[in-house]
Subunit: 145 residues, 2 copies
Amino acid sequence: MSEAPADLLRRHGVQVTAQRLAVLAAVSARPHGTADEVVRGVRAEIGVISRQAVYNALGVLVDKGLIRRIQPAGSPARYEDRVGDNHHHLICRACGRTVDVDCAAGAAPCLNAAADSGYEIDEAEVIFWGHCPECLAQGPPPVEG
Amino acid sequence: MSEAPADLLRRHGVQVTAQRLAVLAAVSARPHGTADEVVRGVRAEIGVISRQAVYNALGVLVDKGLIRRIQPAGSPARYEDRVGDNHHHLICRACGRTVDVDCAAGAAPCLNAAADSGYEIDEAEVIFWGHCPECLAQGPPPVEG
DNA sequence: TCAAGGTCTTGACTCAGTCAAGATTTAGAC
DNA sequence: GTCTAAATCTTGACTGAGTCAAGACCTTGA
């Protein structure tokens, strides 16, 4: 990350604009933020931007592998700038807080078994659901069922 | 599954209605169907039902653990009646076909490592993305990036 | 058969995201 | 520094998935 953001974009064949730089910065500043939170972050930084420009920038950056999109069930898409490693996510059912988890097994552990299906697999998306320490402390999680 | 669907519902404290029975049957008939597909399936079976009643029935059945809801990125929620085992899903990026995969490791393999975070984890949701044999045969998958 | 409570229908609404047309900006050539 | 073509941004309408609320209807249990 010693590279300037503008150079990073150029190196990936992405035209450099104030909006894209601000989106990249906003995603870095608040990992796991929604598109809407990015919009607010960018507006705080450069004053004004259209929702559409943010969606466009996020799409381009995801496309080029500069950021990663995660889409947990029951939540809008979220974005983070930690890419290139095979980490997963852990989400609190109560407060929605999302944290990164390194996969203990290194490479995705189920890939071999799944390959029996004849599918050519390129990604294993893993999301852990539970309750974070703070929500646990505030009271026992509601019994389900 | 030797139990009659109506008894199954009653045993779980769910009031028995024609709509709920039809929704349960529709989900069994087409695993991984969307709410919309369930609506169409139910209409084929009992003639008429409101969208809202289907959402309501699906919600109750998921709540009681009689069916399972999966929400792949970029797709509406899907439902299946295979519950109680820790199986995962494999989705074709090209045609969207979804198949079940048994987890080779038996129990969810990353749970121990993730537990370091202090979270109390109750579910590991795993989705594999790739291309199915038929889509692979029709041509190489598009290069991404 | 009847009353009470739960469920269904209808229709408006929200939220996240997409589409399209015209104005603006960027990159590269002169 | 100026100019042109192409890419990007803004604006505003639109779609799809799902939720909310009020009143009609059906189940359950007595």
